[in-house]
């Protein structure tokens, strides 16, 4: 029987393959935010087409997961770039430094709008203000100097509750059960949603002040403002926007949190609501009128530049006017171009490190 032959050749092949694997990597390896992934894939594709370097590999998985991998260390089997839809945190920088990733270049590629959309034929969710989202989704409301659990179950009750807190001129809300699909905690989008919508709404409604008066510390009051109810009215989506879309398609009353680019690709099934009276589009986000937007970043390991071929070129290409400029393919896809792109280009060219 030829089993000895098969095993010998298998081992030989495995050895050859492993030998080839041990040599240095020649493609750029990227991981991180699923919001940045579409932009990174567009750049990676154009990079592979226009230069002699191999097309970079872009994985998704979320900002936190990407930055965690980024901070694992330096070497050919570590990623070169982490995409993130939020700035890197202090504790992540510390983890990075502890693992030898001391020099990090931060690159801001532009801005992304976060939009609130619902089924196109569903209830008339046309306009929101942050306070309404806070009132509908907060775990607890301040009441008579204490905190009581959020008892609202219908969007139509939200305005009455806010008027009870002294707010006026609230946009009309439809008669629909509260059912919101918000990004899960591993998404960078969640942080923006908490800060620009929930915390903002909490402050607008005067609830933040009421909590301080009730004796909460500033940190505790902020945490209370941003804590989301867990009774099923708010659903964390840990997957991608396609999952949110699927949930909304099956729940006519559902309202979901999406990225602007995703919404613009699915205008046939979704309708978007204004926030504080401003309709989300690239213009209102660029001008800062639309309140819920956040910068998108990628982080480069300086130690890998010069070792991994094409890394510096990829970064410069990403932020070039041709790609990231106001008329480039990234803007066409939904990225809001950064007005300070020239400064970013200079920083990438000079390899300006964080904290230097």
């Amino acid at each position: 029987m030829s089993f000895t032959k098969i095993s010998v050749s298998a081992l030989a092949l495995a050895a050859v393959a492993t030998g080839a694997a041990a040599q240095d990597r020649d493609n750029v390896q990227i991981a991180g935010s699923s919001t940045v992934l579409p932009y990174a894939s567009i750049v990676a594709e154009a990079f592979g087409e226009n230069f002699d370097f191999p097309t970079p590999v872009v994985e998704s998985g979320g900002s936190s997961a990407g930055l965690a991998r980024f901070c694992e260390g330096v070497g050919p089997n570590q990623i070169d770039i982490a995409n993130a839809s939020r700035p890197i945190r202090e504790n992540e920088i510390e983890t990075c430094a502890a693992n030898g990733v001391e020099e990090i270049i931060e690159v801001r590629i532009g801005y992304d709008g976060i939009v609130f959309a619902s089924q196109i034929d569903g209830p008339a969710f046309d306009a929101f203000v942050p306070a309404q989202w806070w009132a509908a989704l907060a775990a607890e409301h301040p009441m008579d100097g204490g905190m009581t659990a959020n008892g609202l179950s219908n969007w139509s009750e939200v305005n009455a509750a806010l008027e009870g807190m002294g707010m006026t001129d609230l946009p009309e809300l439809p008669e629909a059960e509260i059912l919101a699909f918000i990004p899960g905690t591993r998404h960078g989008t969640r942080e923006v949603f908490e800060e620009n919508v929930l915390l903002q709404g909490c402050e607008d409604a005067g609830a933040y002040d009421a909590m301080i008066e009730a004796g909460l510390s500033e940190d505790d009051a902020e945490a209370a403002c941003m804590s989301v109810r867990t009774d099923g009215a708010s659903v964390d989506i840990d997957g991608d926007y396609t999952e949110t879309l699927a949930r909304i398609s099956s729940n006519p009353n559902g309202v979901g949190v999406f990225g602007l680019a995703f919404y613009e690709n699915n205008t046939d099934s979704l309708k978007v609501a204004t926030m504080s009276g401003v309709e989300p589009n690239t213009d209102t986000i660029a001008s800062g009128e639309y309140p819920v937007s956040r910068p998108l970043f990628f982080y480069i390991k300086n130690a890998h530049i010069g070792v991994i071929p094409g890394l510096q070129e990829y970064a410069s290409f990403f932020v070039s006017d041709q790609l990231a400029g106001p008329n480039g393919p990234l803007a066409n896809y939904g990225l809001v171009s950064d007005p300070e792109l020239a400064a970013t280009q200079a920083a990438v060219a000079n390899r300006t490190l964080m904290g230097h």
């Binding site: 694997a21 594709e45 590999v57 694992e72 990623i79």
Partner: protein, 452 residues
């Protein structure tokens, strides 16, 4: 209890004088329940058939459009003033014009083509290219790089239509659904209708979908499953080369040579346990063992294959042992009786007879590994990865690649509905592979299996 007493006290009286063909109550009840059970069984089978039909029907209905693709024939002037302003004819100079430089040429070419059809449109020439894939620029640049003498000439290109324009001809996109779309307007569809009338826009079989590479989010029309198929191939090759010898050697030893003691019992129990471990666990193990400890590259089919080998080994060992066990002891005894050594009896007699069973188990194990996504999530094989075919045979083991199920998962996540269609198309391709493998397993069993 009282009932029992009432009927049980006169059984003979009840039976007496009645024909066997005249059914009594109890027999009728039993017959009724048997009939009901049969119908229940038929109902269960019918229900599963309905589900299969619905499932396959949905897959085919949603996936088939991915196998055709619209192209638009345009005449593009490769203007020397743009591509080679100084008239050097130097390939290096021409190559320094990036794909962005070709966009105005395509705009001009498309505007000319549309004007020639005579259709009236309010669209400006800068809006018209939304009909085309952004990848056309790369196609042109590659053409020119291959043959710099084209500069200055006008070339005819079969340009891919953009995902939405293609979707219109497939019935996925309508004028109503484009009403609020920023990527394509109903006015574009009028132009497209005119192009179709002149046979300049055509739908044809989409070989690129089966053979091509993955594309970025903005170009669903270019995406293909071919490179991911190569990734799957390399992973299956790795599984085959490692799991077959290791699995068969382990089974032979355990079945034919190993002493029966606590240690071998423990090993057997653990092999059965391993077969039931969720596949994601093998992914985590693979990340820790092969990437973080052994420093193998990320996103490599070699690592994917190693992880899937771990996952498939228990299945192969269990089926191989069953095949070896099915060979009657008389064969071994006869071999030993004529003076063969233990090893000769195993390799000359037992193993060849067990081979069909082993191969069937192997193919089923491979089919299972082929459809696996979960462990690949953790070793970097999901994302925008399968963008280039590998450079050579050995390179295919280590150059970043995805796998068919991982590619389908990735497409299903993307924002553009055109990718959704391609995900269903990918499912059809994957199912065809699985079907072929399972049929092969059945045929092998039918053809070679021996019963004693």
């Amino acid at each position: 209890m009282t009932d029992f007493g009432a009927t049980g006290s006169h059984p003979h009286e009840l039976r007496r004088g009645r024909s066997l063909f005249d059914l009594d109550d109890r027999t009728r009840r039993r017959n009724r329940s048997e009939g009901a059970f049969r119908w229940l069984g038929i109902g269960a089978i019918a229900l599963s058939m309905v589900f299969i039909v619905i499932l396959l029907g949905t897959i085919v209905a949603r996936g088939l459009p991915a196998f055709t693709q619209t192209t638009i024939t345009i005449e593009v002037p490769l203007d020397a003033a743009v591509l080679d302003p100084n008239g050097t004819g130097d390939p290096e100079v021409i190559r320094s014009v990036l794909t962005f430089g070709y966009a105005p040429l395509i705009e001009r070419g498309l505007a000319g083509t549309v004007a020639a059809t005579g259709v009236e449109t309010e669209l400006t020439s800068s809006q018209l290219p939304q009909l085309l894939s952004p990848g056309v620029a790369a196609t042109l640049r590659d053409m020119v790089a291959a043959d710099p003498s084209l500069v200055g000439q006008t070339v005819q290109v079969e340009a891919l239509a953009s995902g939405r324009a293609d979707g219109y001809l497939k019935g996925r996109v309508t004028r109503e659904s484009l009403a609020r779309d920023t990527n394509l307007s109903p006015a574009h569809l009028d132009v497209l209708d005119a192009l179709v009338e002149q046979d300049l826009a055509r739908r044809a079989f989409n070989w690129d979908f089966i053979l091509g590479a993955d594309a970025s989010e903005s170009r669903p029309e270019e995406a293909g499953i071919g490179v991911a198929m190569i990734g799957s191939f390399y992973m299956m090759l790795t599984v085959l080369l490692l799991a077959l010898p290791i699995g068969v050697a382990a089974s032979i030893y355990l079945e034919e040579f190993a002493p029966q003691n606590r240690l071998t019992d423990l090993i057997e129990v653990n092999i059965s346990n391993l077969a039931a471990v969720p596949s994601i666990v093998f992914g985590i193990l693979g990340l820790a063992a092969f990437i973080q400890f052994a420093h193998l590259p990320q996103s490599a089919p070699l690592v994917g294959g190693l992880v899937l080998t771990l996952m498939t080994l228990p299945t192969i060992i269990i089926s191989t042992r069953a095949a070896l066990k099915a060979v009657p002891p008389s064969i071994r005894d006869a071999a030993l009786g004529v003076g063969a050594s233990k090893m000769q009896s195993v390799f000359h007699h037992v193993l060849p007879l067990a081979m069909p069973g082993i191969l069937t188990g192997l193919i089923i194990g491979l089919a299972q590994a082929l459809g696996e996504t979960a462990p690949l999530l953790l070793i970097g094989m999901v994302g925008f990865i399968a963008s280039n075919p590998p450079d050579g045979f050995i390179d295919g083991f280590v150059s970043p690649n995805s796998a068919m199920p991982a590619q389908i998962y990735e497409w299903a996540k993307r924002a553009d509905p055109a990718y959704y269609e391609r995900a269903w198309g990918g499912i059809i391709v994957l199912l065809l592979f699985l079907l072929v493998m399972n049929v092969l397993a059945v045929l092998l069993r039918r053809r070679f299996e021996r019963r004693w």
